[in-house]
């Protein structure tokens, strides 16, 4: 569905996308994972034909977003990261407006949005500006869906949305995928990555890896420990000073510690921390999650540069 090869997009001083290549298959739920400013929005805008690019090759359903932008705009549903509906229009008025500009009716594709719409229907006469974050996103998704797009581009749909609504939102995406819609979604939340079929990790305009979440985790080849102690702050600085340690990141109440040597053990870590006078030390070997892999890939990239 989407084919991006060696894409380069420069703004005046920064290179927002640097040699990006990825491929999204038909009917796939594809996640673009990366921190703020990584280039996610720029990539979405290039794919949706809203931005021109400097180098590379982009194809959406076989169409070129530069020359054939009209065909692409007809077939995609795009939900920008910033809430982009009319705040002074009610839910129903927004929906009717977007159905009208796509020359369809609410009734025609009601099946597609029914699941989502029933959740916001009680408020259908309320101005969009007065909705909660979660409801706004559901409405925006409805508006992006009303014309039954083949490709859905969602730029950070769950940012600023409460935990319950986020879970609901991903449930909705799964159901849409079952209807055969290809979905590309970006998020800065690593925990959402495992909900996608395949993900691309993006950092500073560069793709660090494209694979299934499990595949990404497999690239993580080093021993990983979750470490806890009374004095959290000196724990993390001590671990970072340790030359056996590759990296130490805080992760909730734990520090996730990656070791340089494949043969490192929990015992080794414990004895190091006792030598630094830490109390109530707990060290557990754990398996990596997507965020650990992201940090690891980022580190490897920095080292190789």
């Amino acid at each position: 569905m989407i084919e991006v090869r060696n894409l380069v997009k420069r703004f005046a001083e920064v290179t927002a996308l640097n040699n990006v290549s990825l491929q999204v298959d038909d009917g796939e739920l594809f996640g673009l994972i990366g921190p703020d400013g990584a280039g996610k929005t720029t990539l979405f805008r290039v794919i949706s034909s809203l931005l021109l690019f400097d180098e590379g090759h982009v194809e959406v359903a076989g169409k070129n977003p530069v020359s054939d932008y009209a065909a692409i705009r007809q077939m995609i549903g795009y939900m920008p990261g910033k809430f982009s509906l009319y705040q002074d229009l009610s839910i129903l008025e927004n929906l009717r407006f977007f159905t009208a500009i796509f020359k369809t009716t609410l009734e025609e594709n009601y099946d597609l949005i029914k699941d989502i719409y029933v959740q916001i229907e009680p408020f259908k006469h309320r101005p969009a500006g007065k909705l909660s974050g979660g409801m706004k996103q559901k409405l925006a998704l409805c508006c992006a869906l009303v014309h039954k797009p083949r490709l859905l581009l969602l730029d950070e749909p769950t940012t600023g949305v409460d935990a319950v609504s986020r879970i609901e939102f991903w449930e909705i995406l799964k159901r849409l995928k079952q209807q055969g819609i290809t979905i590309m979604v970006s998020t800065p939340y690593m925990d959402e990555a495992s909900l996608c079929e395949r993900i691309a990790l993006i950092q500073q305009g560069q793709i660090m890896g494209v694979d299934s979440p499990e595949g990404i985790i497999k690239t993580f080849s080093k021993p990983l420990f979750a470490v806890k102690a009374d004095d959290f702050y000196s724990l993390i600085t001590d671990l970072r000073d340790w030359n056996e340690a590759l990296s130490a990141f805080s992760f909730g109440e734990y520090v996730h510690l990656t070791m340089r040597s494949e043969s490192s053990t929990a015992m080794q870590v414990e004895s190091y921390l006792f030598s630094r006078n830490h109390s109530s030390v707990s060290v557990k070997a754990i398996s990596a999650n997507v965020e650990d892999s992201f940090m690891y890939l980022m580190l490897k990239k920095e080292e190789s540069q």
Binding site: R45, S48, S49, L50, L51, L52, Y69, A70, R73, Q74, I76, Y78, P80, K82, F83, S84, L85, Y86, Q87, D88, L89, E93, R96, F97, F98, A100, I101, F102, K103, C143
Partner: protein, 365 residues
């Protein structure tokens, strides 16, 4: 397209500030320009220093007092007080009558009075001087008539098209131009810039809507509203200030419509170069409003401007529009006399439409 227009109407009618600008401004402006900023002076305060105290001087003073232009504020006792009354600020003019006024007038048929004006406001001082001179002349005629003076040449000025020199006649065309500029150009440019600012332009762009559909959808409600506004101003002018419409009303309205379309295309052009509502607003203010008010001949006569500013005034669409409206309303002129001005506005419209289409970006940035 219908949905777009409907949406735009919702925007306008739900925003009480734009409603206020749309319907409050025209009324307020016409009333302000009509009542407050007039060039006519009524009841100016006059002080009299009468040295002669004779019957003739009394008759002169009562004639001045009954003219409607002056109120006799006080009578002065000596020339020393003149400066003082001016400093107090209320008295605008002092009339000094010499001691032998009546005697000289009857015996020598020649006498003089002195008019001292407060020229810190030169326009007022000048106008008052002219009023007084006119009153004096008619006074002289009356008095001499009693004495059966043999020959007299009487000047009877007749002012064509605006016999009472009423300045509200000038302000109605000017106000129409300003209001239409404000509503059409400023409101559309702001409303398009708002779409950019709120991010909704991004969604509109990825939709299959074509640029001209977006623009026409934006513009149609404002065409209607501006036209209603123009009608309101004309009605206010006709009923409140009794400004005549001598020309063909249909022709006048057609010209108004043309000017509305011109302003809208200008507004669209402004919106294509401004990324935010604030920029659009400032641009409209400084590029449209101020020149429209100052350089179009609305407030200051173009003939009195330095040559460079006169050139600039030719670039003001409102200048030509004001000429058209003035001529149609007050002279009853038709297209035969005004085709040149009309053509200029048509050319400007085409120019701005072309620029807007060329500048309208089908992509972001």
């Amino acid at each position: 397209m219908k949905a777009f227009i409907k949406k735009e109407v919702y925007h306008i009618f739900r925003d009480y500030r734009s409603m206020l600008i749309l319907f409050g401004m025209p009324v307020v402006q016409v009333l302000i320009f009509g009542f407050a900023i007039t060039n006519e002076i009524k009841d100016a305060r006059l002080a009299v220093l009468d040295h002669s105290h004779d019957e003739m001087s009394q008759r002169l003073i009562s004639k001045i007092a009954s003219s409607g232009y002056f109120l006799i504020d006080r009578r002065l006792e000596s020339a020393n007080q003149i400066e003082q009354v001016f400093r107090e600020g209320k008295v605008k003019q002092v009339l000094v009558i010499p001691s032998s006024f009546g005697h000289d007038f009857t015996s020598q048929h020649q006498t003089s009075v002195q008019i001292i004006g407060d020229a810190s406001d030169p326009n007022t001082a000048n106008l008052l001087k002219n009023y007084t001179a006119a009153i004096l002349q008619s006074f002289q005629m009356e008095e001499l008539g009693k004495l059966a003076f043999p020959i007299e040449v009487k000047v009877e000025p007749l002012m064509f098209y605006n016999p009472e020199l009423s300045s509200v006649y000038l302000f109605v065309p000017g106000t129409i131009a300003v209001i239409l500029m404000l509503v059409s150009a400023m409101m559309t440019s702001i409303s398009i810039a708002r779409e950019k600012e709120m991010g909704t332009m991004e969604v509109l762009l990825v939709s299959p809507l074509k640029p001209f559909q977006i623009i026409v959808g934006k513009v149609v409600p404002y065409v209607v509203l501006s036209f209603v506004n123009a009608l309101m101003i004309l009605a206010l002018g006709a009923w409140v200030f009794e400004v005549p419409i001598l020309g063909n009303l249909a022709f006048l309205l057609a010209e108004v419509l043309l000017f509305i379309i011109m302003s809208l295309s200008l507004g669209i052009f402004i919106s294509t170069v401004s990324p935010t509502q604030q920029v659009a607003m400032l641009l409209s203010m400084f590029v449209l409003m101020l020149p429209t008010i100052l350089l179009s001949g609305f407030v200051f006569p173009i003939e009195n401007m330095p040559v460079v500013l006169q050139w600039f005034s030719h670039l003001m669409p409102s200048k030509w529009f004001i000429i058209i409206v003035r001529d149609v309303m007050l002279r009853g002129s038709g297209i035969a006399y005004l085709w040149k001005e009309t053509l200029i506005i048509v050319c400007m419209t085409v120019f701005f439409v072309f620029l807007s289409i060329r500048n309208f970006n089908i992509r972001l940035a």
